[in-house]
Protein backbone atom coordinates (compact mmCIF):
# COMPACT_ATOMS: atom_id res chain seq x y z
CA UNK A 1 0.00 0.00 0.00
CA UNK A 2 2.80 2.43 0.84
CA UNK A 3 4.53 1.66 -2.45
CA UNK A 4 1.23 2.25 -4.25
CA UNK A 5 1.00 5.69 -2.67
CA UNK A 6 4.65 6.50 -3.29
CA UNK A 7 4.42 5.39 -6.93
CA UNK A 8 1.16 7.23 -7.37
CA UNK A 9 2.65 10.47 -6.15
CA UNK A 10 5.47 9.98 -8.59
CA UNK A 11 3.25 9.27 -11.64
CA UNK A 12 0.37 11.58 -10.83
CA UNK A 13 1.87 14.79 -12.29
CA UNK A 14 2.48 13.07 -15.64
CA UNK A 15 -0.97 11.53 -15.64
CA UNK A 16 -2.61 14.82 -14.70
CA UNK A 17 -0.84 16.55 -17.55
CA UNK A 18 -2.32 13.84 -19.77
CA UNK A 19 -5.73 14.34 -18.16
CA UNK A 20 -5.60 17.99 -19.16
CA UNK A 21 -5.08 16.95 -22.77
CA UNK A 22 -7.95 14.45 -22.45
CA UNK A 23 -10.22 17.26 -21.30
CA UNK A 24 -9.10 19.46 -24.19
CA UNK A 25 -9.88 16.65 -26.62
CA UNK A 26 -13.26 16.17 -24.95
CA UNK A 27 -14.40 19.79 -24.98
CA UNK A 28 -13.14 20.65 -28.45
CA UNK A 29 -14.62 17.49 -29.98
CA UNK A 30 -17.84 18.10 -28.03
CA UNK A 31 -18.06 21.56 -29.62
CA UNK A 32 -17.56 20.06 -33.10
CA UNK A 33 -20.06 17.27 -32.41
CA UNK A 34 -22.70 19.62 -30.97
CA UNK A 35 -22.60 22.13 -33.82
CA UNK A 36 -22.42 19.48 -36.53
CA UNK A 37 -25.06 17.40 -34.75
CA UNK A 38 -27.47 20.33 -34.70
CA UNK A 39 -26.85 21.00 -38.39
CA UNK A 40 -27.46 17.34 -39.24
CA UNK A 41 -30.61 17.22 -37.08
CA UNK A 42 -32.10 20.32 -38.73
CA UNK A 43 -31.16 18.99 -42.18
CA UNK A 44 -32.81 15.67 -41.40
CA UNK A 45 -35.99 17.41 -40.19
CA UNK A 46 -36.13 19.65 -43.25
CA UNK A 47 -38.96 19.25 -45.74
CA UNK A 48 -36.42 19.35 -48.56
CA UNK A 49 -35.16 15.95 -49.67
CA UNK A 50 -31.95 17.63 -50.84
CA UNK A 51 -31.19 18.23 -47.17
CA UNK A 52 -32.81 15.29 -45.41
CA UNK A 53 -31.48 12.46 -47.59
CA UNK A 54 -27.80 13.49 -47.26
CA UNK A 55 -28.30 13.96 -43.52
CA UNK A 56 -29.73 10.46 -43.08
CA UNK A 57 -26.89 9.03 -45.17
CA UNK A 58 -24.18 10.82 -43.22
CA UNK A 59 -25.70 9.84 -39.86
CA UNK A 60 -26.02 6.19 -40.90
CA UNK A 61 -22.45 6.00 -42.17
CA UNK A 62 -20.97 7.74 -39.12
CA UNK A 63 -22.91 5.51 -36.75
CA UNK A 64 -21.98 2.36 -38.59
CA UNK A 65 -18.20 2.75 -38.40
CA UNK A 66 -16.29 2.46 -35.10
CA UNK A 67 -14.90 5.78 -33.84
CA UNK A 68 -11.58 3.96 -33.51
CA UNK A 69 -11.53 3.15 -37.24
CA UNK A 70 -12.62 6.70 -38.11
CA UNK A 71 -9.69 8.06 -36.10
CA UNK A 72 -7.21 5.75 -37.85
CA UNK A 73 -8.71 6.76 -41.17
CA UNK A 74 -8.38 10.48 -40.55
CA UNK A 75 -4.87 10.19 -39.15
CA UNK A 76 -3.39 7.73 -41.67
CA UNK A 77 -5.49 8.05 -44.85
CA UNK A 78 -6.14 11.80 -44.97
CA UNK A 79 -2.43 12.65 -45.45
CA UNK A 80 -2.46 10.38 -48.52
CA UNK A 81 -5.15 12.56 -50.08
CA UNK A 82 -3.30 15.72 -49.14
CA UNK A 83 -4.95 16.63 -45.86
CA UNK A 84 -2.26 16.87 -43.20
CA UNK A 85 -3.49 17.14 -39.65
CA UNK A 86 -1.63 16.97 -36.37
CA UNK A 87 -2.54 14.02 -34.17
CA UNK A 88 -4.41 16.41 -31.86
CA UNK A 89 -6.43 17.92 -34.72
CA UNK A 90 -7.19 14.47 -36.10
CA UNK A 91 -8.47 13.36 -32.71
CA UNK A 92 -10.79 16.38 -32.36
CA UNK A 93 -12.10 15.92 -35.88
CA UNK A 94 -12.47 12.14 -35.62
CA UNK A 95 -14.22 12.06 -32.27
CA UNK A 96 -16.21 15.22 -32.99
CA UNK A 97 -17.51 14.14 -36.38
CA UNK A 98 -18.03 10.53 -35.30
CA UNK A 99 -20.14 11.56 -32.32
CA UNK A 100 -22.10 14.23 -34.21
CA UNK A 101 -24.34 11.42 -35.48
CA UNK A 102 -25.43 10.52 -31.95
CA UNK A 103 -25.97 14.16 -31.03
CA UNK A 104 -27.98 14.70 -34.22
CA UNK A 105 -30.37 11.87 -33.40
CA UNK A 106 -30.73 13.12 -29.83
CA UNK A 107 -31.44 16.68 -31.01
CA UNK A 108 -33.95 15.39 -33.54
CA UNK A 109 -35.78 13.38 -30.88
CA UNK A 110 -35.95 16.48 -28.65
CA UNK A 111 -37.22 18.72 -31.42
CA UNK A 112 -39.97 16.38 -32.60
CA UNK A 113 -41.12 15.88 -29.02
CA UNK A 114 -42.35 19.48 -28.91
CA UNK A 115 -46.11 19.71 -29.50
CA UNK A 116 -47.25 20.67 -33.00
CA UNK A 117 -49.48 23.34 -31.48
CA UNK A 118 -46.36 25.26 -30.45
CA UNK A 119 -45.32 25.68 -34.09
CA UNK A 120 -48.83 26.77 -35.01
CA UNK A 121 -49.07 29.29 -32.19
CA UNK A 122 -45.68 30.74 -33.14
CA UNK A 123 -46.66 30.88 -36.80
CA UNK A 124 -49.96 32.53 -35.96
CA UNK A 125 -48.16 35.54 -34.47
CA UNK A 126 -46.09 35.89 -37.63
CA UNK A 127 -42.81 34.26 -36.59
CA UNK A 128 -40.49 32.90 -39.26
CA UNK A 129 -38.87 29.47 -39.18
CA UNK A 130 -35.65 30.65 -37.59
CA UNK A 131 -37.38 32.53 -34.77
CA UNK A 132 -39.75 29.64 -34.16
CA UNK A 133 -36.76 27.32 -33.71
CA UNK A 134 -34.62 29.56 -31.54
CA UNK A 135 -37.35 31.17 -29.41
CA UNK A 136 -40.03 28.51 -29.11
CA UNK A 137 -38.96 25.00 -30.08
CA UNK A 138 -35.33 24.63 -28.96
CA UNK A 139 -35.87 26.08 -25.46
CA UNK A 140 -38.52 23.39 -24.95
CA UNK A 141 -36.58 20.63 -26.67
CA UNK A 142 -33.59 21.23 -24.37
CA UNK A 143 -35.37 19.47 -21.51
CA UNK A 144 -35.67 16.30 -23.56
CA UNK A 145 -32.20 16.65 -25.05
CA UNK A 146 -30.15 17.20 -21.88
CA UNK A 147 -30.21 13.79 -20.14
CA UNK A 148 -28.98 11.84 -23.19
CA UNK A 149 -26.61 14.71 -24.00
CA UNK A 150 -24.88 14.13 -20.66
CA UNK A 151 -24.60 10.43 -21.44
CA UNK A 152 -23.01 11.06 -24.81
CA UNK A 153 -20.65 13.59 -23.23
CA UNK A 154 -19.36 10.96 -20.79
CA UNK A 155 -19.01 8.43 -23.59
CA UNK A 156 -16.94 11.01 -25.44
CA UNK A 157 -14.72 11.56 -22.41
CA UNK A 158 -14.01 7.85 -22.25
CA UNK A 159 -13.50 7.54 -25.99
CA UNK A 160 -11.01 10.42 -25.91
CA UNK A 161 -8.67 7.64 -24.72
CA UNK A 162 -8.77 6.31 -28.30
CA UNK A 163 -6.69 9.32 -29.29
CA UNK A 164 -3.76 7.55 -27.61
CA UNK A 165 -3.63 5.22 -30.61
CA UNK A 166 -2.80 8.08 -32.93
CA UNK A 167 -0.10 9.36 -30.55
CA UNK A 168 -2.01 12.18 -28.86
CA UNK A 169 -0.34 12.52 -25.46
CA UNK A 170 -3.53 12.35 -23.45
CA UNK A 171 -3.89 10.45 -20.19
CA UNK A 172 -4.17 6.89 -21.49
CA UNK A 173 -1.09 7.33 -23.62
CA UNK A 174 0.82 8.81 -20.71
CA UNK A 175 -0.21 5.77 -18.67
CA UNK A 176 0.94 3.33 -21.35
CA UNK A 177 4.30 5.05 -21.56
CA UNK A 178 4.80 4.98 -17.78
CA UNK A 179 3.65 1.38 -17.52
CA UNK A 180 5.89 0.14 -20.29
CA UNK A 181 8.96 1.69 -18.72
CA UNK A 182 8.23 0.86 -15.07
CA UNK A 183 6.08 -2.31 -15.32
CA UNK A 184 3.92 -0.87 -12.51
CA UNK A 185 0.80 -1.88 -14.43
CA UNK A 186 -1.52 -2.22 -11.49
CA UNK A 187 -0.64 1.17 -9.99
CA UNK A 188 -0.73 3.05 -13.27
CA UNK A 189 -3.95 1.65 -14.71
CA UNK A 190 -5.77 1.79 -11.38
CA UNK A 191 -4.86 5.45 -11.19
CA UNK A 192 -5.98 6.06 -14.77
CA UNK A 193 -9.32 4.39 -14.11
CA UNK A 194 -9.84 6.49 -10.99
CA UNK A 195 -8.88 9.67 -12.80
CA UNK A 196 -11.42 9.04 -15.61
CA UNK A 197 -14.03 8.43 -12.94
CA UNK A 198 -13.05 11.67 -11.22
CA UNK A 199 -13.45 13.56 -14.48
CA UNK A 200 -16.83 12.05 -15.30
CA UNK A 201 -18.37 12.88 -11.92
CA UNK A 202 -18.24 16.68 -12.38
CA UNK A 203 -19.61 16.23 -15.89
CA UNK A 204 -22.58 14.33 -14.48
CA UNK A 205 -23.04 17.04 -11.86
CA UNK A 206 -22.89 19.75 -14.52
CA UNK A 207 -25.55 17.95 -16.51
CA UNK A 208 -27.77 17.46 -13.47
CA UNK A 209 -27.49 21.18 -12.77
CA UNK A 210 -28.42 22.06 -16.35
CA UNK A 211 -31.39 19.69 -16.19
CA UNK A 212 -32.64 21.44 -13.07
CA UNK A 213 -32.20 24.82 -14.70
CA UNK A 214 -34.27 23.89 -17.75
CA UNK A 215 -36.90 21.94 -15.83
CA UNK A 216 -40.48 22.50 -16.93
CA UNK A 217 -41.98 25.50 -15.20
Amino acid sequence: MTTFIEDSLQYLPLLLRGALVSLQVLFLSLAVATVLGMVLALMRLSNSRFLSVPAVTIITVLRGIPIFVQLLYIYFVFPEIGIDLTAFQAAILGIGVGYSAYHAENFRAGIISVDKGQYEAAKSIGMGTRQIMSRIILPQAVRIILPPYGNIMIMMLKDSSLASVITVSEMTRAAQLIASSTFKNMTVFTLVGLLYLCMSLPLSALNAWLERRFKAK
Partner: protein
Protein backbone atom coordinates in the same frame (compact mmCIF):
# COMPACT_ATOMS: atom_id res chain seq x y z
CA UNK B 1 -56.04 45.64 -57.36
CA UNK B 2 -59.72 45.37 -56.57
CA UNK B 3 -61.05 47.31 -53.60
CA UNK B 4 -62.62 44.76 -51.28
CA UNK B 5 -65.02 45.69 -48.55
CA UNK B 6 -64.89 42.33 -46.79
CA UNK B 7 -62.21 41.70 -44.16
CA UNK B 8 -62.10 38.00 -44.98
CA UNK B 9 -63.23 36.64 -48.29
CA UNK B 10 -63.25 32.97 -49.30
CA UNK B 11 -64.13 32.23 -52.90
CA UNK B 12 -64.67 28.71 -54.24
CA UNK B 13 -62.12 27.24 -51.85
CA UNK B 14 -61.50 23.52 -52.31
CA UNK B 15 -59.20 21.13 -50.54
CA UNK B 16 -58.57 17.39 -50.37
CA UNK B 17 -56.94 15.24 -47.72
CA UNK B 18 -55.88 12.35 -49.95
CA UNK B 19 -59.03 11.27 -51.75
CA UNK B 20 -61.36 12.89 -49.24
CA UNK B 21 -62.61 16.31 -50.28
CA UNK B 22 -62.81 18.34 -47.08
CA UNK B 23 -63.72 21.69 -48.62
CA UNK B 24 -66.08 21.80 -51.60
CA UNK B 25 -65.90 25.11 -53.39
CA UNK B 26 -66.66 27.09 -50.27
CA UNK B 27 -67.47 30.79 -50.52
CA UNK B 28 -68.31 33.33 -47.83
CA UNK B 29 -67.38 36.78 -46.58
CA UNK B 30 -66.74 38.23 -43.17
CA UNK B 31 -67.33 41.97 -43.20
CA UNK B 32 -65.42 44.43 -41.02
CA UNK B 33 -66.63 44.31 -37.42
CA UNK B 34 -68.75 41.27 -38.08
CA UNK B 35 -68.86 38.20 -35.83
CA UNK B 36 -69.47 35.00 -37.77
CA UNK B 37 -69.80 31.54 -36.24
CA UNK B 38 -69.04 28.33 -38.12
CA UNK B 39 -71.05 25.43 -36.77
CA UNK B 40 -71.49 21.86 -37.88
CA UNK B 41 -70.60 18.27 -37.05
CA UNK B 42 -66.96 17.24 -36.59
CA UNK B 43 -65.27 16.50 -39.88
CA UNK B 44 -67.41 19.09 -41.66
CA UNK B 45 -64.36 21.21 -42.58
CA UNK B 46 -64.91 24.10 -40.13
CA UNK B 47 -61.43 24.05 -38.61
CA UNK B 48 -59.77 23.35 -41.95
CA UNK B 49 -61.49 26.36 -43.49
CA UNK B 50 -60.47 28.53 -40.56
CA UNK B 51 -56.85 27.37 -40.83
CA UNK B 52 -56.76 28.21 -44.54
CA UNK B 53 -57.36 31.84 -43.65
CA UNK B 54 -54.01 32.31 -41.88
CA UNK B 55 -52.13 29.77 -43.94
CA UNK B 56 -51.81 27.00 -41.36
CA UNK B 57 -53.40 24.86 -44.06
CA UNK B 58 -53.03 25.16 -47.81
CA UNK B 59 -55.96 25.07 -50.20
CA UNK B 60 -55.92 23.78 -53.76
CA UNK B 61 -58.50 25.83 -55.61
CA UNK B 62 -60.17 29.16 -55.15
CA UNK B 63 -58.91 32.21 -53.27
CA UNK B 64 -58.81 33.43 -49.71
CA UNK B 65 -58.12 37.10 -49.10
CA UNK B 66 -57.63 38.99 -45.87
CA UNK B 67 -58.20 42.73 -46.15
CA UNK B 68 -57.76 42.36 -49.90
CA UNK B 69 -54.48 40.44 -49.67
CA UNK B 70 -54.27 36.93 -51.11
CA UNK B 71 -53.44 34.22 -48.58
CA UNK B 72 -50.79 31.86 -49.91
CA UNK B 73 -49.31 29.60 -47.22
CA UNK B 74 -46.14 29.09 -49.27
CA UNK B 75 -45.46 32.73 -50.09
CA UNK B 76 -43.38 35.05 -47.99
CA UNK B 77 -46.34 37.41 -47.70
CA UNK B 78 -47.99 34.96 -45.31
CA UNK B 79 -45.85 36.21 -42.42
CA UNK B 80 -47.27 39.72 -42.73
CA UNK B 81 -50.83 38.44 -43.10
CA UNK B 82 -50.46 36.38 -39.91
CA UNK B 83 -49.56 39.52 -37.97
CA UNK B 84 -52.91 40.96 -39.09
CA UNK B 85 -55.11 37.93 -38.33
CA UNK B 86 -54.87 36.54 -34.83
CA UNK B 87 -55.67 32.97 -33.95
CA UNK B 88 -56.90 31.37 -30.75
CA UNK B 89 -56.59 27.61 -30.51
CA UNK B 90 -58.66 24.91 -28.85
CA UNK B 91 -55.69 23.81 -26.75
CA UNK B 92 -54.46 27.37 -26.01
CA UNK B 93 -50.90 26.58 -27.18
CA UNK B 94 -49.29 29.06 -24.81
CA UNK B 95 -45.50 28.87 -24.75
CA UNK B 96 -44.90 26.84 -21.57
CA UNK B 97 -41.37 28.17 -20.96
CA UNK B 98 -42.59 31.77 -20.78
CA UNK B 99 -44.70 33.63 -18.25
CA UNK B 100 -48.11 35.03 -19.21
CA UNK B 101 -46.52 38.43 -19.78
CA UNK B 102 -43.66 36.98 -21.86
CA UNK B 103 -46.18 35.06 -23.96
CA UNK B 104 -47.99 38.30 -24.72
CA UNK B 105 -44.94 40.44 -25.58
CA UNK B 106 -43.21 37.74 -27.65
CA UNK B 107 -44.98 38.67 -30.89
CA UNK B 108 -44.80 42.46 -30.52
CA UNK B 109 -41.12 42.51 -29.49
CA UNK B 110 -39.77 39.76 -31.77
CA UNK B 111 -41.95 40.11 -34.84
CA UNK B 112 -43.02 43.75 -34.85
CA UNK B 113 -39.89 45.05 -33.09
CA UNK B 114 -41.89 47.13 -30.62
CA UNK B 115 -39.62 48.45 -27.82
CA UNK B 116 -39.83 46.10 -24.84
CA UNK B 117 -41.03 48.74 -22.38
CA UNK B 118 -43.89 49.73 -24.64
CA UNK B 119 -44.85 46.08 -25.23
CA UNK B 120 -44.82 45.36 -21.50
CA UNK B 121 -47.13 48.30 -20.77
CA UNK B 122 -49.49 47.18 -23.51
CA UNK B 123 -49.37 43.61 -22.17
CA UNK B 124 -50.38 44.77 -18.70
CA UNK B 125 -53.37 46.63 -20.08
CA UNK B 126 -54.33 43.52 -22.11
CA UNK B 127 -54.07 41.35 -19.00
CA UNK B 128 -56.35 43.81 -17.27
CA UNK B 129 -58.77 43.61 -20.15
CA UNK B 130 -59.00 39.81 -19.89
CA UNK B 131 -59.21 39.99 -16.09
CA UNK B 132 -55.79 38.56 -15.22
CA UNK B 133 -53.97 41.57 -13.80
CA UNK B 134 -52.29 39.51 -11.08
CA UNK B 135 -51.14 36.65 -13.34
CA UNK B 136 -48.46 38.47 -15.36
CA UNK B 137 -45.60 36.42 -13.92
CA UNK B 138 -47.43 33.08 -13.79
CA UNK B 139 -46.37 30.27 -16.08
CA UNK B 140 -49.08 28.56 -18.16
CA UNK B 141 -48.87 25.41 -16.00
CA UNK B 142 -49.87 27.51 -12.99
CA UNK B 143 -53.05 28.74 -14.69
CA UNK B 144 -56.43 27.08 -15.17
CA UNK B 145 -57.64 26.30 -18.67
CA UNK B 146 -59.89 29.34 -18.75
CA UNK B 147 -57.06 31.58 -17.57
CA UNK B 148 -54.69 30.12 -20.16
CA UNK B 149 -57.20 30.74 -22.92
CA UNK B 150 -57.64 34.34 -21.79
CA UNK B 151 -53.87 34.82 -21.89
CA UNK B 152 -53.93 33.29 -25.39
CA UNK B 153 -56.56 35.84 -26.43
CA UNK B 154 -54.41 38.62 -24.96
CA UNK B 155 -51.38 37.25 -26.85
CA UNK B 156 -53.37 37.43 -30.04
CA UNK B 157 -54.66 40.95 -29.30
CA UNK B 158 -51.11 42.16 -28.61
CA UNK B 159 -50.42 42.00 -32.35
CA UNK B 160 -53.27 44.50 -32.87
CA UNK B 161 -54.92 42.24 -35.45
CA UNK B 162 -57.63 43.32 -37.86
CA UNK B 163 -59.48 40.06 -37.24
CA UNK B 164 -59.24 37.05 -34.93
CA UNK B 165 -59.93 33.42 -35.78
CA UNK B 166 -61.17 31.21 -32.92
CA UNK B 167 -60.84 27.45 -33.35
CA UNK B 168 -63.20 25.88 -30.80
CA UNK B 169 -61.86 28.13 -28.05
CA UNK B 170 -63.93 26.60 -25.25
CA UNK B 171 -63.96 22.92 -26.25
CA UNK B 172 -61.00 21.97 -24.04
CA UNK B 173 -62.21 23.88 -21.00
CA UNK B 174 -63.79 22.72 -17.78
CA UNK B 175 -67.46 23.73 -17.92
CA UNK B 176 -67.13 26.23 -15.07
CA UNK B 177 -64.43 28.21 -16.92
CA UNK B 178 -66.21 28.41 -20.28
CA UNK B 179 -68.14 31.50 -19.22
CA UNK B 180 -65.07 33.62 -18.46
CA UNK B 181 -63.63 33.00 -21.95
CA UNK B 182 -66.95 33.63 -23.70
CA UNK B 183 -67.27 36.83 -21.65
CA UNK B 184 -63.95 38.13 -22.98
CA UNK B 185 -64.97 37.20 -26.52
CA UNK B 186 -68.28 38.95 -26.13
CA UNK B 187 -66.62 42.17 -25.01
CA UNK B 188 -64.28 41.97 -28.02
CA UNK B 189 -67.31 41.61 -30.26
CA UNK B 190 -68.92 44.63 -28.61
CA UNK B 191 -65.77 46.66 -29.34
CA UNK B 192 -66.16 45.87 -33.02
CA UNK B 193 -63.45 43.24 -33.51
CA UNK B 194 -63.93 41.15 -36.64
CA UNK B 195 -64.22 37.56 -35.49
CA UNK B 196 -64.67 34.19 -37.17
CA UNK B 197 -65.45 31.51 -34.61
CA UNK B 198 -65.67 27.75 -34.89
CA UNK B 199 -67.81 26.75 -31.95
CA UNK B 200 -70.27 24.32 -30.45
CA UNK B 201 -71.58 26.96 -28.03
CA UNK B 202 -74.96 27.56 -29.63
CA UNK B 203 -76.13 29.91 -26.89
CA UNK B 204 -73.09 32.10 -27.43
CA UNK B 205 -73.55 32.00 -31.20
CA UNK B 206 -77.17 33.09 -30.85
CA UNK B 207 -76.19 35.88 -28.50
CA UNK B 208 -73.07 37.30 -30.13
CA UNK B 209 -72.83 36.25 -33.76
CA UNK B 210 -74.22 38.45 -36.49
CA UNK B 211 -74.30 35.46 -38.83
CA UNK B 212 -74.02 31.69 -38.55
CA UNK B 213 -72.79 29.34 -41.26
CA UNK B 214 -73.76 25.68 -40.98
CA UNK B 215 -71.18 23.40 -42.58
CA UNK B 216 -71.49 19.73 -43.36
CA UNK B 217 -69.09 17.57 -45.38
CA UNK B 218 -67.16 20.54 -46.69
CA UNK B 219 -70.16 22.58 -47.83
CA UNK B 220 -72.09 25.51 -46.46
CA UNK B 221 -75.60 24.12 -46.21
CA UNK B 222 -77.27 27.04 -44.56
CA UNK B 223 -76.37 30.54 -43.50
CA UNK B 224 -78.06 33.62 -42.19
CA UNK B 225 -78.65 35.73 -39.10
CA UNK B 226 -77.73 33.72 -36.01
CA UNK B 227 -81.13 33.65 -34.37
CA UNK B 228 -82.84 32.64 -37.59
CA UNK B 229 -80.54 29.74 -38.43
CA UNK B 230 -80.41 28.48 -34.87
CA UNK B 231 -84.09 28.73 -34.04
CA UNK B 232 -85.67 28.00 -37.42
CA UNK B 233 -83.22 25.92 -39.43
CA UNK B 234 -84.49 25.18 -42.94
CA UNK B 235 -82.13 22.41 -44.02
CA UNK B 236 -82.97 18.95 -42.60
CA UNK B 237 -79.30 18.30 -41.80
CA UNK B 238 -79.08 21.56 -39.86
CA UNK B 239 -82.24 20.63 -37.99
CA UNK B 240 -80.85 17.20 -37.18
CA UNK B 241 -77.48 18.62 -36.04
CA UNK B 242 -79.03 21.28 -33.83
CA UNK B 243 -81.42 18.81 -32.26
CA UNK B 244 -78.52 16.55 -31.33
CA UNK B 245 -76.36 19.39 -30.00
CA UNK B 246 -79.11 21.08 -28.03
CA UNK B 247 -80.76 17.92 -26.69
CA UNK B 248 -77.97 15.35 -26.48
CA UNK B 249 -79.75 13.28 -23.83
CA UNK B 250 -82.84 12.61 -25.92
CA UNK B 251 -80.99 10.43 -28.42
CA UNK B 252 -79.26 8.46 -25.68
CA UNK B 253 -82.36 7.75 -23.65
CA UNK B 254 -84.53 6.80 -26.59
CA UNK B 255 -81.97 4.33 -27.91
CA UNK B 256 -81.19 3.04 -24.42
CA UNK B 257 -84.78 2.24 -23.59
CA UNK B 258 -85.84 0.82 -26.89
Amino acid sequence: MRESKAMIEAKNVSKHFGTLQVLKSMSFNVERGEVVCLIGPSGSGKSTMLRCINGLETYEKGTVTVDGKLVDANAKSILAIRTEVGMVFQRFNLFPHMTALENIIEGPTRVKRVPRQEAVEEAHSLLKKVGLTDKASSYPSQLSGGQQQRVAIARSLAMKPKAILFDEPTSALDPETVGEVLGVMQSLANEGMTMLIVTHEMGFAAEVASRVLFLDRGEILEQGPAKEVLSQPQNPRTQDFLRRVLHPVEGVSSSAFQ
